[in-house]
Structure formats: structure tokens, C-alpha cells
């Protein structure tokens, strides 16, 4: 008896779908006939047309055309910006999660990946509630106000000050992806030893008191360092060299120093458990970075192309720079070295992407590759701090170097941000810009050091930062999450 019932049900469903499509089809037909009829009407009545009528008609047509052009540009720009936002999210998960996940020991892979994934969830909710407003709302030179909490006033109409051709919500969600990956980058410094609960509290406070003010100063309306909206010290930071990489990298160093070394470091060997995971992650980062940098044009025009090209060239040159340095010093070019160099180049080209020529991008990348290699291999060993996955050595060092080099290589040919033909960077004759870049970097360093230290102190006193020795030996997967990344028995 069950078969006929199913048959009746299926035929009813079929009839329902059929009638639905027929009805909506006739509605479509009615809609398509309507404009034709409307167009025919004025043509019939306008044979004896006065001059004023014709001018009025032309003006109307002109206005209609302008609206259509604007709509078409919005469609084009918005398409690219939505794709860019998705690309930047892909950098966090799976990109960064795999990159970092492969570098830890296998007992910590899920714990490490969860730290990044948690940012994707927690920072998103926080952004909707308050941090978007603190970063991009109207405020003073240092931080935004509370006008846009709960995303009040963040609708589908563009905000011309930020991006005139895309819905403000597109801008908001695009910026959110940056706010997610920035704290996720810090997790590399305290890998394998921080309590998940403490990490969550730390990151929420960090997003509120370090990321939000820094983003506001560089990109927000009236921000102290904002180069396009009249800041006191116009700092060139196209896609977040200071906002993302200096803040995360320097904060990473502070957390590594505050938490101390992992148990047994550096005597106990702690090699990456899967460079394969890291390799896949780094390649996803490279691709995602096109959304990060070219998307920072906030439109799909020529500036996006410049940034896209510079990003790619910077990454390639840096991969070569790191590899060659490693080949000379250690005798072999490793896969981990090549992908680390690539990430270092992407970091360094981030502030410069929309300001420099492809040839300058090659130079910035090459310098970054070699410089970060020495930061990670020599400087870290010399000082002995346990920046476990080199968040400082790559993001702090590469970001600082990139931000300063932006002041050297920026050119008005690519981006006349100070007016057409006006010198932009040092090589064009604007030595003052180098000073402004250093001011921007110094503020980012200071805010990160002071903010992170205070937050660490508070969280340490409230709930404690580190897992117990027992939990650390067992691994974060089991001790923090009650599961294992690799279960060999099944």
C-alpha cells in the first residue's frame, strides 16, 4: 500500500511544480509585454514635438543612461568585491588553518586549526555587534564611535567615502574577513600551549582594543593615518601591512614572550608533522591573497589589476629569495622554505600592492624573502624566543619592511593618491612619505605592544593563559577538544 501513496504524492508534487512554473511564466510574459506598450505610446503622440519637450526628453534619457551606467558599474564592482571577500575568508580556513596545522606536532593539529576557525565564528559575531562600528564608524582620529553598533545604518546603499560603487554591506563584510584573519595569524606564535578558553577571551579583547583602533586610524573616516580621507600622518597602507601584519606579528612576539617556551623547547625536537598540509595551505593563501590585495581597490578597475599583478610578482620573487638564501646556507632548497618565502613576500607586498609597479614588486618580494629568512633562522635563534610558527618572523618583520618599502617605491603613475603627478614615494622625490610610513609603523608597534601586554596580563589573572604541563604533553587536540586529528586505529 505504500507504493501508491508515494506515487500520488509524487504526482501531486509534479502538478504543483508544473502549475507554479506555468503561472510564473505567464506573469513573466505579462511583464515583458508591458514596456513595449509603454514605449509605443509616446512615439505615437510625439509627432508634433516642441523644442522644450525634446530637450526635456533628451535630459530624461541622459539621466536614465547615467543611472544605467552607474548600475552597471556597481554590478561589476560588487561582483569582484563579493568574490574577493570570499577569497579572503578562504585564506583563514582552510588556508591558514592548513598552513599552521601542518607546522605543529600531530597531537596539536585540531587545536591549532580550531584557533583559526574560532576566529571565523567569534570575530564575525563581534563585528556585527560592535567592532565594525569601532573600526569604520564615525569617530575621532583614533577609534570609531558607536553609531553603527548592531550594524545600524549599514545598508545596501554605498558610502561614498569608503567605496562609492558597492553596497556598504559589501564593504562591511569584506573588511570583516580582514578582521578575522588578523587575530588568526597571531595564533602561530603561541601554538601548542595556550588554553582554548583563554585564547577566545584574549582574541575578543584584542579585536576590540588593538585591531579596531588600528583599522580606524589607517582606513576609517577621520583616522589619524588615513591617506585618502585626510589623516594627520597620511600613511600608505593599501591592504593592511600595518593594520593586519604589523599588529598581528608584533602582538605575536609579545604573546610568545609572555607565555614562554613550549615544554622542552628547544631541546626536544618539534619538527612540522606535515609539510604537505602546510604546502596546500600556503598555495591557498597565495590565491586568496588576490582577494586580499586586488580586492582592496574596492572596485574592479585598473587599480585592482595593478594590485593583482604586484601581489603575484611579490610572492614569486620572495619564494625565490628565501629558497636561494636557504640553498646557499644549508645546501638544499626545502619545500617549507619556498612556501614560507612566498608568504613573506605576500605580507611585504600587502601595503604596497596598489602603489607600485610590477618591477618594484619584484624588488620588494626579493628583499622580503631574504630578510624574513634571516629573521626566522638567525634572529630567532640568537634571541631564543619560541615564536613557534614564526608569526613574528614572517608577519611582523615582513609587514614592517613592506610598510617602509611602500614609502620608497610608491608611485603616482600607479596610484595618484595625493593628486595627479604629485610625488608619492621616496624614489619619486617625496622623502616625507618615508617618514609618514615610519610613523605609521611606530604607532602600530606601540599599540600592539602595549595593548597586547595589558590584555595578556588581564586574561592571565582572570583565567590563566597556558594549559597545564600534563595537557601540553597530551596535546591540545585531546586536552582542549576531546578528539584526535589522526586516528590510526580505525
Amino acid at each position: 500500500m505504500r507504493l501508491p501513496v508515494a506515487k500520488v504524492f509524487l504526482s501531486l508534487l509534479f502538478v504543483l511544480i508544473l502549475s507554479g512554473s506555468v503561472m510564473s511564466g505567464s506573469r513573466m510574459l505579462a511583464q515583458t509585454t508591458a514596456p513595449g506598450a509603454a514605449a509605443a505610446a509616446p512615439a505615437a503622440s510625439s509627432l508634433p514635438m516642441s523644442q522644450t519637450d525634446r530637450i526635456a526628453a533628451l535630459e530624461k534619457q541622459n539621466a536614465d543612461n547615467a543611472a544605467l551606467i552607474a548600475a552597471a558599474q556597481t554590478a561589476g564592482d560588487n561582483a569582484w568585491m563579493l568574490v574577493s571577500a570570499a577569497l579572503v575568508l578562504m585564506m583563514s580556513g582552510p588556508g591558514l588553518a592548513l598552513f599552521y596545522g601542518g607546522l605543529v606536532r600531530k597531537k596539536n593539529i585540531l587545536g591549532t586549526m580550531m584557533q583559526t576557525f574560532a576566529m571565523m565564528a567569534v570575530i564575525t559575531v563581534l563585528w556585527a555587534l560592535v567592532t565594525y562600528s569601532l573600526a569604520f564608524g564615525e569617530g575621532n582620529a583614533f577609534i570609531g564611535g558607536l553609531h553603527n553598533v548592531f550594524l545600524r545604518g549599514v545598508g545596501l546603499a554605498p558610502d561614498a567615502k569608503y567605496a562609492a560603487t558597492i553596497p556598504l554591506q559589501t564593504f562591511m563584510v569584506y573588511q570583516l574577513m580582514f578582521a578575522i584573519i588578523t587575530p588568526a595569524l597571531i595564533t602561530g606564535a603561541f601554538a601548542e600551549r595556550m588554553k582554548f578558553s583563554a585564547m577566545l577571551v584574549f582574541m575578543v579583547l584584542w579585536a576590540l582594543f588593538v585591531y579596531s583602533p588600528m583599522a580606524h586610524m589607517v582606513w576609517g573616516k577621520g583616522g589619524l593615518l588615513n591617506a585618502s580621507l585626510g589623516g594627520r600622518f597620511p600613511t600608505l597602507d593599501f591592504a593592511g601591512g600595518t593594520v593586519v601584519h604589523v599588529t598581528s606579528g608584533v602582538s605575536a612576539l609579545i604573546t610568545a614572550l609572555y607565555l614562554g617556551k613550549r615544554l622542552g623547547y628547544p631541546k626536544v625536537p618539534m619538527p612540522p608533522h606535515s609539510v604537505v598540509n602546510s604546502f596546500i595551505g600556503a598555495c591557498l593563501l597565495w590565491v586568496g591573497w588576490f582577494g586580499f590585495n586586488a580586492g582592496s581597490a574596492l572596485s574592479s578597475g585598473t587599480l585592482a589589476t595593478s594590485a593583482f599583478v604586484a601581489t603575484h610578482f611579490g610572492a614569486a620573487a620572495a619564494a625565490i629569495g628565501w629558497s636561494v638564501a636557504e640553498w646557499i646556507r644549508q645546501g638544499k632548497p626545502s619545500a617549507l622554505g619556498a612556501i614560507s618565502g612566498c608568504v613573506a613576500g605576500l605580507v611585504a607586498i600587502t601595503p604596497a600592492a596598489g602603489f607600485v609597479t610590477p618591477m618594484s614588486a619584484l624588488w620588494i618580494g626579493l628583499i622580503a624573502g631574504v630578510f624574513c629568512y634571516f629573521m626566522v633562522v638567525k634572529v630567532k635563534a640568537a634571541f631564543g624566543y619560541d615564536d613557534s610558527l614564526d608569526a613574528f618572523g614572517v608577519h611582523g618583520a615582513g609587514g614592517t619592511m613592506g610598510a617602509i618599502l611602500t614609502g620608497v617605491f610608491a608611485t603616482s603613475v600607479i596610484n595618484p593618491i595625493f593628486g595627479a603627478g604629485k610625488a608619492t614615494g621616496l624614489l619619486e622625490g617625496n622623502a616625507h612619505q618615508l617618514l609618514n610610513q615610519i610613523v605609521g609603523v611606530a604607532i602600530a608597534w606601540s599599540l600592539s605592544i602595549v595593548g597586547t601586554l595589558i590584555i595578556l596580563f588581564v586574561v592571565d589573572k582572570l583565567i590563566g593563559l597556558r594549559v597545564s604541563e600534563e595537557d601540553e604533553r597530551e596535546g591540545l587536540d585531546l586536552s582542549q577538544h576531546g578528539e584526535e586529528g589522526y586516528d590510526w586505529a580505525h
Binding site: 619538527p271 612540522p272 636557504e326 638544499k332 626545502s334 617549507l336 622554505g337 633562522v377 635563534a381 614564526d390
Partner: protein, 112 residues
């Protein structure tokens, strides 16, 4: 009955397995293993840090054979697994008191 435990180069597993099957050995157990004998390990570099790896990947093969088969089986393994360089592995032989087929409780050499 005798048990042969052979620790061999992973790359020689297929050759050894084929040689044993050819002389009529019907069952074997393979384990991925790590270890070292006189063979020195190697060093690996990750971001400039040096790690010495002295436990190298090996395959451990366990075969239990009838006493009459022992010499043939050992010859098959040594012939197939030998490259002549250090790191080829070792063979250990020990006596087995009893073998039991779980399916039907057969005991002794017939259970092999």
C-alpha cells in the same frame, strides 16, 4: 615451527613477498616500523632548525614456517632484500610452540 622476523628496507618489501610466495609460504604479517642498527640516521632542516633523524623507516615482516621450510625461507628473504649496503636489515629466528587456526581450532603446522 619457526618464526622469522625480518626487518627490511621498505623498498624491498614487494620483492621479498614475491620470493616467499614463490617457495610456498602462505601467510605473513607486515608492520611499518622505525628503528636503527648500525646504519646512521640523517639530518633534516625545517626553517633553519636542524633535526637529526636516527630512527629510520623500515618494514617488519613476520612469517611462521614449518621447520623444514626455514632455510629456504631465509634464503628467499636474504636474496630478495639484499642491496649490499648498510641498512639492509636483519633477520631473527625463534621457535614457536603452538599455532592455532581460530576458524576451526586446527593446531600445529597444519594451522600455518
Amino acid at each position: 615451527m619457526q618464526k622469522i622476523e625480518a626487518v627490511i628496507q621498505p623498498s624491498k618489501l614487494d620483492a621479498v613477498k614475491d620470493a616467499l610466495v614463490e617457495i610456498g609460504v602462505e601467510g605473513m604479517t607486515i608492520t611499518e616500523a622505525r628503528g636503527h642498527g648500525r646504519q646512521k640516521g640523517h639530518t633534516e632542516f625545517y626553517r633553519g632548525r636542524e633535526y637529526s633523524v636516527d630512527l629510520l623507516p623500515k618494514v617488519k615482516l613476520e612469517v611462521v614456517v614449518a621447520d623444514a621450510m626455514l632455510d629456504k625461507a631465509i634464503l628467499a628473504i636474504t636474496t630478495a632484500a639484499r642491496t649490499g649496503t648498510i641498512g639492509d636489515g636483519k633477520i631473527f629466528v625463534s621457535k614457536i610452540d603452538e599455532a592455532i587456526r581460530i576458524r576451526n581450532d586446527e593446531r600445529g603446522e597444519i594451522a600455518l
